[in-house]
Amino acid sequence: MIPDLGKYAVPVLASYGVSLLLIAGLVWASLRRSARVRRALDEVEGRRKTDV
């Protein structure tokens, strides 16, 4: 399935590997921080409502 990359297989595959890894890491970190902040804000707002 993988095309014949000849003598340049290493740089081509490494480029795709590094790039996809960096993009996946960025997406994962963004989603994780989004969920964490959302949860923390809900908690603070919930506490505020209870106090009122």
Binding site: M1, P11, V12, A14, Y16, L26
Partner: protein, 246 residues
């Protein structure tokens, strides 16, 4: 859309409401175009007669380099809006875009080195474009560090906006360095409005799809991260109020 309609999105609540509707569509379209462009480019394009299979790196290198520069230019615009209009969402959008731009710059530098080694015989050269790109990467790091280092959000937004203005020189230099200084290893732009200067159609079409994927990925990530920054800012404000009341 007139300018007054645009300013409505400076309201954090309105921004979150609108992006609630828009973000899923943008994210799915980004994933679709990114996968389509990369699969097309990797599996279904021929080797170049000079560069062999290394030409497949173009589908990562060119879009990421393009976004590295344009992310900074987007940050410049939103920073200027903050300086002039003091809209918090604008400053937070610039903050949200910085890590995305930094990763794009890192991808461009890494794929450039991996492409350069077999083609130029070296991983790195102190060529005008490469050097200005490295400086742009350092500016991204400095910008992110400055936001983290300052506790007061408004002061951080002021100082990072100034840093963004200074860094814009390097964002523009990384785009035009090849034209300014006719030296170094890096060739001119692969993309042009002049069809004769573009790469051959067989590489050009998947490259366009890949670029569209990277642009939408950037938009989706910036929208999502801006929402996070808006919520984080609100949380800091509520916590500060709690501390004052205690």
């Amino acid at each position: 859309m007139n300018l007054n309609t645009l300013w409505a999105y400076a309201n954090p609540k309105k921004f979150i409401e609108t992006t609630d509707r828009v973000l899923p569509a943008v994210a799915w379209l980004a994933a679709l175009l990114l996968v389509a462009g990369l699969v097309w480019g990797f599996f279904f394009t021929p080797d170049d007669f000079r560069q062999g299979s290394t030409v497949k790196i173009i589908y990562l290198h060119v879009p990421s380099a393009l976004m590295a520069i344009n992310a900074w230019l987007m940050m410049l615009v939103t920073s200027l809006v903050w300086i002039v209009r003091r809209h918090h969402v604008s400053a937070l959008a610039a903050r949200a875009a910085a890590p995305v731009g930094m990763v794009m710059t890192l991808i461009a530098l890494a794929t450039g080195a991996l492409w350069g080694q077999p083609m130029w015989g070296t991983w790195w050269a102190w060529d005008p474009r490469l050097t200005s790109f490295l400086i742009l990467f350092l500016f991204y790091l400095g910008y992110i560090a400055l936001w983290e280092a300052i506790e007061n959000d408004d002061t951080a937004a002021d100082l990072t906006s100034i840093l963004c203005l200074v860094g814009s020189v390097f964002a523009l230099l990384s785009r035009y360095a090849v034209n300014f200084w006719n030296q170094g290893l890096h060739q001119g732009a692969s993309l042009s409005l002049d069809k004769k200067e573009n790469v051959a159609d067989v590489f050009w079409h998947p490259l366009l799809v890949s670029i569209a994927g990277f642009v939408l990925l950037f938009v989706a990530l910036v929208l999502m991260r801006t929402r996070t920054e808006i919520r984080a800012r609100r949380m800091r404000a509520l916590l500060a109020r709690e501390r004052m009341q205690a």
